[in-house]
């Protein structure tokens, strides 16, 4: 194999272009997974949420706009789940217990949203609330009122739900924080509850 000067220059240009594309595709070599990218994007540019109608465990209709002016923690679940959702429920319970009582409801609320709205009717949502000690007021369990709006809701949050072939689902479980302006501002890991709660103090 002989390499001339022109070949070397072309090869160097290809390599530079390659590095540029890889860097662009991984946010400067920081986000190699879609999940990491989603978290970075939300931090850099808080996302508006769609006006999706929700129905809670008591059949009450509401929307994200009803939480304007308050901070809202959102998780996505399905009530039959007993693996990662169990950790999610436990994490949410821990958040509820860590947030000062005077902030609950007035300044901060929790919302668990089911992505299995056909099966998860209000009685099932109520049962889930009971399992994790959600009071149904400051921590509501809800489903999209119109199952047709589920896809738009998940897309806005960047949540991907995959059937596991055994009747259940796998999903990128996380704790989502919606700011007082109604925008998705932060996404945290389930096991980072302390940091999540500490971060609430910094939210304006």
């Amino acid at each position: 194999m002989r390499i001339g000067g022109r070949d070397l220059a072309t090869t160097a240009a290809i390599a530079l272009l390659g590095v540029a594309v890889l860097s662009w595709g991984s946010d400067g070599f920081t986000a190699f997974t879609a999940e990491a990218a989603r978290r970075r994007q939300v931090l850099a540019e808080p996302r508006p949420l769609p006006a999706v109608g929700l129905e809670d465990q008591d059949g009450r209709r509401f929307s994200f706009a009803d939480y304007a002016g308050r901070l809202l923690a959102v998780e996505f679940v399905y009530t039959r789940c007993d693996t990662v959702c169990y950790s999610l429920g436990a994490a949410f319970k821990q958040i509820r217990e860590s947030v000062p009582a005077h902030r609950l409801g007035r300044d901060f609320a929790l919302l668990s949203v089911s992505f299995d709205p056909v099966r998860d009717d209000p009685p099932r949502l109520r049962e889930y609330a009971g399992r994790f000690g959600a009071d149904g007021v400051h921590w509501r369990i809800a489903r999209p009122a119109d199952a047709g709006e589920l896809a738009a809701l998940l897309a806005a949050f960047g949540v991907v739900v995959v059937p596991d072939g055994l009747g259940g689902f796998e999903h990128n479980a996380a704790i989502h924080l919606v700011g007082r302006d109604g925008r998705l501002r932060r996404i945290a890991d389930l096991d980072a509850v302390d940091a999540f709660v500490a971060g609430l103090e910094r939210e304006t």
Partner: protein, 211 residues
């Protein structure tokens, strides 16, 4: 096989892979996506390269910066489509998938096919060892990773893809190693006598040096 037949094979394989049911089935699991669909798309490019006239092959390779340039393009492009984020995007967005369908044949398979002979034995050895180490590294990562790297795929699927990569790495290594010694002695000889691919020596055309 003659060139038109090879070109036809490349086109047929490409169209087959692009059929919506084939796409959906192959992209439904991480194992099929990474270890069946992507290699077949690269194969489309290899076939295409094999089906081109020698004159066109030379012109293309020269434009691409020779064997080293072609190899560099193939390395960067294949690395990009190994990013879990790129796989997720290809599943979620048909336009991203279209880019994948275009770049894997044209920027991985085709340059590899054009550069293969001119690369010489050392260059080809580099490609093989690089492929083996990449499969082992990514495979081990997927088996050992405590997190799901793709939002579109199940955790079990990720581990399965990881094990499959490790097994394929073993098979590729065994095949490459065996070929070095027993399979095709002329290959090793060809590299040793300084094949530059542009002016093939009699040996590299597969003809005996002495009759």
């Amino acid at each position: 096989m003659n060139a038109p037949a090879v070109r036809f094979g490349a086109a047929a394989l490409f169209l087959l892979l692009a059929l919506p049911p084939a796409r959906a089935w192959l992209e439904a699991t991480m194992t099929r996506h990474m270890l069946v669909q992507i290699p077949l798309l690269v194969a489309v490019g290899v076939l295409l390269g094999g089906g081109l006239a020698a004159r066109v092959r030379r012109a293309l390779l020269t434009a691409a910066g020779g064997p080293l340039g072609g190899l560099t393009a193939a390395a960067f492009t294949s690395t990009y489509w190994m990013l879990p984020r790129a796989l997720d995007a290809a599943v979620a967005d048909v336009w991203v998938d279209a880019v994948k369908f275009a770049t894997l044949p044209l920027l991985v398979g085709l340059p590899l096919a054009l550069a293969w002979r001119p690369l010489g034995a050392v260059g080809r050895g580099f490609v093989w060892t690089n492929l083996i180490s990449m499969l082992l590294f990514v495979g081990w990562l997927y088996v050992a990773a405590p997190v799901r790297v793709c939002n579109s795929y199940l955790t079990d699927d990720q581990a399965q893809a990881g094990w499959a990569m490790i097994q394929i790495a073993g098979l590729v290594f065994a095949a490459w190693f065996a070929a070095l010694f027993v399979g095709r002695p002329r290959d090793a000889q060809r590299g040793a006598i300084g094949d530059n691919g542009l002016r093939p020596t009699p040996a590299s055309r597969g003809q005996p040096l002495f009759r």
